[in-house]
Each structure stands twice: as structure tokens, then as C-alpha cells.
Amino acid sequence: MQEQGLVVDKKKAKKNITENYRSFLTALPFIGPFLLLIILFYFTPVILTLIMSLTGMDFTLEWKFSGLENYIKLFHDQNVELVIINTIKYVVFTLVINVGFGFLLAIATGYFIKDENVGLLFQTIWMLPRMTPAVIYALLWLWFLDPTEVGMLNILSGKLFVLPPQNWILNHPMGVVIIANGMIGASLGMVVFSAAIKSIPIDYFQAASVDGASDWDIIRHVIIPFLKWPIMFMTIWQTLSLITSYEYILLLTDGGPLNKSEVWSLFSYHKAFSNYEFGYGAAISVVLVIIAIIIALIMLKLFGYEAMMNRGKIKV
């Protein structure tokens, strides 16, 4: 009997493999192009970066293999500690603005403003910086924060609080970087969250109102529970995006003054493209890739991503 059972199991397993293979072949034309793009633009660069990190590639752009030399050098680099602290500050605080402020904007424009067109108008205004080229957006900030008496923020602080002109970027580089990135990042959160709010069945709001719930109660007990997955998605997405992004920092402070706003990804850029230490820059990037993978895995575990991705328990 046991033997018979084993034979049946083997047959079942074989059947499953064949079925899986067939379903993969059926799906291939659909996922094939995207798979190819992912291999070309995600996996290949990571592998190339990994190989490059084991070389002493410099201004000659030649692959001179040097083993783990770059990683040893990174271990001894006196800037690493400051750069790590800066990166943590930058990611955490910008994330709070991106998700938190994005959520507030979504509530304001998608819940409190009942007229949908008016809500959309405000959302479009908030989206404008995202539609503006990064250089223009950074220039606007530079003009706004101009250290002279004609700088807009200095005029405002002078008139409102009778303060002398300040060099905002020099005195608060990290604050400037966080606010500038947060403002632009919040617009994405706003769009995702307001769409999620719109998808909540109206019955819940009506039932809550009938029960005498205040706006705060509705936000707390209706909106937030429904927005669990969008908040999770935005948090993961923005964390990974912030760890690797540096373009606004490059344009606003260039990591300065004195490395005060240098974050890990910009550190890699500077080593590779300013000092022409491409191998060293690649080693810094590899560390970034490893950290990003670890953070993504931790976050997916924390938010219960598996539960969301599991197949439905009810079969139709």
C-alpha cells in the first residue's frame, strides 16, 4: 500500500511540475518583456557594480582587479560614520514628511474638501514640483533660501520676526535637504492615499456618522485601517527610494558644507565622479544594495506582506 501511495505521490508531483511549466510558458509572452527589462536594468547593473567594486578602476576606466581593497579602504574612511548618521537622519525625517504629510494632504483634499474638483485642483498644485525638472525645483529653493537680504525667506523672517538675514543652507543643510525632498515626496503619498480614501465604500462613512462619530474618529477607525496597505507600500517604496536618491542634495548643497549633508548614495557618486575612484564608488554602492535588500525584507516582514500577497482563501 505504501509503495502504491509513493507512486501516486510521484505521479502527482510530476503532474504539478508539468502544470507549473505549462503555466510559466503561457505567462512568458506577458511577463517576458518585463523580465528582460528587469534583468537588463536591475540585475545586470548590480552584478557589474559588484565586479567593479573588486577593481581599482580610476580615471583610466580600466578594470584592474584589486580584491577586497576597496572594502578595506571603506572600513578605514573617516567620513563613513558621519555619512551613515546623515543617511539615517535624511531617510527617517524625509520619510515622516513623505508619508505623514502626504497622508494629511490626502485627508485634507480627499476627505475634508467634499467638492471633488476643488480637491483635485489642490492636488494638482501639490503635484507641480513633481512635474518640474529637478534642476528648476532646486533652483527655486536656492532662490527662496538666498542668504542675502533679498532672499525670500530672509524677507519673510525679517518682516515677521525682525531677524537678520541668515545663510539657511550653510547653517541648516540637513534641514533644507529634508524639507525640499519631503515636500516633493509628499505629493506621491497624497495621490496614493487620496485614491485609497476614495475607494472606501461610502457606507462606512455614513454608518459612522449615524453612530455619532467625529471626523477624528472616522479618520482613526475607518480611514487608517483601510489605508494599511497603501501606507505600507508607500513606506517601503519611499524608504528604498530615499536611500538611493541624491539628486536634490547634489543640486542644493552638494553634500556640504563639510560633508554635513553627505548621504551614502551621494558619497558613492562623489568618490566615483569627482575623485574618479570608480572602483571605490562601486564598493560603496554595493554596501547600499545590501542594506536596501535587508531593509526591504525587514519591512515586508513587519507589515505582513505575505498575507497581502497570499491567494484568496475562498475559491469561486
Partner: protein, 474 residues
């Protein structure tokens, strides 16, 4: 199915035609000319791409080659060469690092401009990286040698890497200390005293300390808003001060960079003093905008300015003054003076620094002989003087220095003596790492983040990690 194949073929054919049209046409053949033997030979038009860097006033670095191409074409015609040169120019005025980076990447994919104008301090990196041609044979043993033989020997030295020539000097300059005459007058200085100042600096009678004291007095008495301005970003001007304090940065015998702790610390101490102790420069000087600096200087708010000779040309071509716009040279002579960078102690030798520009030839070029010929022809005094006069640079040869237009230019004539006191940056591929770390150390002391001792320690530690080929001397 036939329809699909038909559409596919049409798309492929159209794309091929479009891509063919996009291709870079380097040469075309025109209607022929008659050679001596009476036979008609086809004229070959060759496009030479030139790119240069500098302020808008320096665009003659490119346009001179365009003009020289006409003269070269006549020479080619006279000697029966059927090739004709057409020059395409691109003058870049911002982002020097990016200017180089773009070329390096283009070179690796087989492209890049045929001729480029770069700072001499990048010769080592470009030569060692295999980006540019070695030119000894062209310079010494070619039919075009006669055009470049008169170039000053010290400029040839600046064009060398491992004792080989890789660049043709294009111009040179000095980096004077400018001072505002109108501010000095407000402080009670007579015209005679003002005109004697450059001589006093030259003789070591007016030191860096005197300069700081005067700047402090000007700010205190309200004659100037700011005592001293220097450049806001990484650059050669800070190296001038290291040399001024007696520092050496390169050992020519060993070919290695040197880190001499004392003069470097003295230099950092100088910037610490003027920013944090005497407060004659803004503590945020290293994060100011260039335009703001130029505006402050031309509008008479600053007593001293560590500038360059090319700024003399730039202020006449770019509108920095909010009321006057471009400055007239008369206004500049009336209100601005120029001298060497004062010595740190009485009786010491003042300095300046030159950063000669070089024409280099891309190793990928198909026409190295024509590229060299073009540069050689453009090195003649008539072109070089035009560039010098228009952009405030100094000429490259004794013949050019004798040119009437050059001799009659009062500013260039006045600053010519500075070449006797000049220094240059080392030609070493890793020197850029030193300058960028050194700038951060200067930023640290000016902002009061580090004192000079902490800054020099930080710098030493950083360079030990970054630079392979450096000797550290206490």
C-alpha cells in the same frame, strides 16, 4: 500575414534611413580642383571638432581655431594637399569636472572632440589614462614646428607628463590680488600711496598681516562692507597660499606628491584668522554664489579680491554691476588696482600662480596631423594676442609679447612682471584628490568647525586614505 510582413519591412527600411541620416558625417568630397599636373583631384572636407572651457570672454580658445582653419586651408592648397579643414566649436562655461567627464566617457566609446582646451594640471591624468596624444615628434620634428618653437620654455614644462609633451600651451595667466582704490581713498590713502602699493608688495614691505589689518580697518570704519573675498569653491587659488607659506606639493625627482604639514597648517591658520578671528571674510564664503562675489566686488563693497587676470576681461564683457552693467576699462583703472599675493613676513617673496591652458589632441582623432597643424597655426601671435587682449590672459611666446596690440594693452603690460613670481600646480593624476580635500579643510576652519590643528589632522588622515602616491613630511 503578408500585411504584417509588409509593415515590418517598411518600419525596418524607414528606421535604417533615419539612422543613416543621424550618422556623424566626418568628411565629404567636393567638386575637384586642378592639381599641378592638370588632373582634377577631389577636395576632402574634414571636420575637426574643438571644445574649450572658460568664461564667456575665453571663447577665443575655440574661435581662434576656427579662424586659423582658413589660414591652414590656404597653406594646404598651396602645397597641393587636397584636404580642407572645417572647425566645429563648443565653448563650455560651467562645470569643468563635467566637461572632462563627458569627454572621458565619449573617448572610451571611440568618440570625443578632436581638440580640447584643458588646464595643464589635467595633463597628467589625461596622458596616463591614454586619452590624449603624445606630441613630442610633432612639436620638434614636423613641418609645423616653426609655429610653436617660440613658446616660453616654462609653459612647455607645464605641458609635460613623464618628460613628454602632451599639450600645446594656449595661454597663461597670473592670479593677482585686486584692491579697490576708491575704498583706500576713503581710508585716507593718497594717489601716490595707492599706486605704490603693488611695488611695496613686490618688495615684501606689505605682508599678508598688513593686508588683513587694512581689511579690518576698512570694515570697521565703514569704507567697505567686506574686507576680503576669495573664490567660493575648490580651485587653484588656495594652492597659491600654500606656495606663499613656502610649501612644496610635488617632488619632481620622485614624481610623488608631498604633504608638508607646516606650510599647509600655516595656510589653514591664515584662513581661520581672516574668517574667525579678524572676521574680514564672510564665514560662509565657501558656499557663496560666484555671481554674488563678482557683484559685490564690481560694486565696490569689498577691499581685496583674490582674482585672476581673466576677470579683468570678464568684467568688461559680463554685466555684474547692477547699475553700470559691463564695466568700462577706464572705470576699472580708476577704481581697481592689482598686485602680487603678499608674502607672509616682511622681506619675504610674494607669489602668484599660473594655470596655463593647453590644447590637447584626442587619441581617437582620425587626423592627428591636421589637428596639430591647426593648433600650430593658431599659436601665432596674431591669434594668441587677440585671445589675450579680449580675455585678460597672458601670451605664450616672446613674439606675441612683442606684438604692438599686446604691448599697448596697459593692463597686460602691467601684470606681465608677475610671471617672474609665478608658480604652477603639480602635474600629477591624483592632485585633484588633494585639492578637493584641502578645500574641505579650508571650509572647516572658515566655518569654525575645526581649528587649524584639527583641520590639518583631518586632512592628513583623509589623504592617507585617498592618495596612494603621497609622501608625508612633518
Amino acid at each position: 500575414m503578408k500585411k504584417i510582413i509588409g509593415i515590418f519591412l517598411t518600419v525596418v527600411l524607414s528606421m535604417s534611413l533615419i539612422l543613416t541620416g543621424c550618422g556623424k558625417v566626418q568628411e565629404t568630397k567636393d567638386a575637384g580642383q586642378k592639381s599641378d599636373s592638370g588632373k582634377t583631384t577631389a577636395i576632402e572636407n574634414i571636420v575637426i571638432e574643438v571644445e574649450s572651457y572658460g568664461s564667456p570672454a575665453d571663447s577665443t580658445r575655440s574661435t581662434n581655431l576656427q579662424e586659423a582653419a582658413q589660414e591652414l586651408n590656404k597653406i594646404l592648397e598651396e602645397k597641393g594637399d587636397n584636404r580642407r579643414v572645417e572647425v566645429k566649436t563648443n565653448h563650455v562655461s560651467s562645470g569643468y569636472d563635467e566637461y572632462n567627464r563627458k569627454f572621458m566617457l565619449a573617448h572610451k566609446s571611440g568618440g570625443g572632440a578632436d581638440i580640447r582646451a584643458i588646464s595643464h594640471s589635467d595633463i597628467a591624468m589625461m596622458a596616463q589614462g591614454g586619452y590624449i596624444l603624445q606630441l613630442d615628434d610633432y612639436v620638434n620634428n614636423s613641418e609645423w614646428s616653426k609655429y610653436v618653437q617660440d613658446i616660453y620654455p616654462n609653459l612647455w614644462d607645464a605641458s609635460k607628463w613623464m618628460a613628454r609633451i602632451y599639450g600645446i600651451p594656449q595661454d597663461t595667466e597670473a592670479r593677482p590680488l585686486y584692491f579697490r582704490k576708491d575704498i583706500l581713498k576713503k581710508l585716507g590713502w593718497s594717489d601716490e600711496q595707492i599706486s605704490a602699493l603693488p611695488e611695496k608688495i613686490k618688495n615684501g614691505e606689505f605682508t599678508l598681516e598688513d593686508m588683513t589689518r587694512l581689511a579690518r580697518e576698512a570694515v570697521k570704519k565703514g569704507a567697505a562692507k567686506i574686507g576680503i573675498y576669495h573664490r567660493p569653491n575648490n580651485g587653484a587659488d588656495f594652492i597659491t597660499l600654500v606656495y606663499d607659506f613656502g610649501g612644496r606639493l610635488f617632488d619632481e625627482n620622485t614624481g610623488k606628491l608631498i604633504f608638508e604639514r607646516k606650510p599647509i597648517k600655516d595656510t589653514l591658520n591664515y584662513f581661520y584668522q581672516i574668517a574667525q578671528v579678524d572676521k574680514v571674510i564672510p564665514s560662509g564664503m565657501t558656499s557663496m554664489e560666484w555671481r554674488q562675489i563678482h557683484k559685490g566686488w564690481v560694486e565696490g563693497e569689498v577691499l581685496f579680491w583674490y582674482g585672476g587676470t581673466w576677470h579683468w576681461g570678464e568684467y568688461q564683457k559680463v554685466e555684474y554691476h547692477s547699475k553700470l552693467g559691463k564695466l568700462s576699462e577706464n572705470y576699472m583703472f580708476q577704481n581697481m588696482g592689482y598686485a602680487l599675493v603678499p608674502a607672509p613676513s616682511k622681506g619675504g617673496k610674494p607669489v602668484t600662480l599660473s594655470q596655463p591652458y593647453m590644447y590637447v589632441i584626442n587619441r581617437n582623432t582620425k587626423y592627428p596631423d591636421l589637428a596639430f597643424a591647426l593648433i600650430a597655426v593658431a599659436s601665432q601671435p596674431k591669434y594668441n594676442v587677440k585671445h589675450a587682449v579680449e580675455s585678460g590672459h597672458l601670451v605664450i611666446s616672446s613674439a606675441a609679447a612683442e606684438d604692438t596690440a599686446y604691448k599697448q594693452n596697459r593692463f597686460l603690460h602691467d601684470v606681465q612682471y608677475m610671471l617672474n613670481y609665478t608658480t604652477v600646480q603639480p602635474n600629477h593624476p591624483e592632485f585633484g584628490k588633494f585639492t578637493s580635500a584641502f578645500f574641505k579643510a579650508i571650509q572647516a576652519v572658515e566655518m569654525g568647525e575645526y581649528d587649524p590643528e584639527q583641520a590639518v589632522n583631518w586632512l592628513e588622515e583623509q589623504l592617507k586614505n585617498d592618495v596612494k602616491d603621497m609622501v608625508f613630511v612633518d
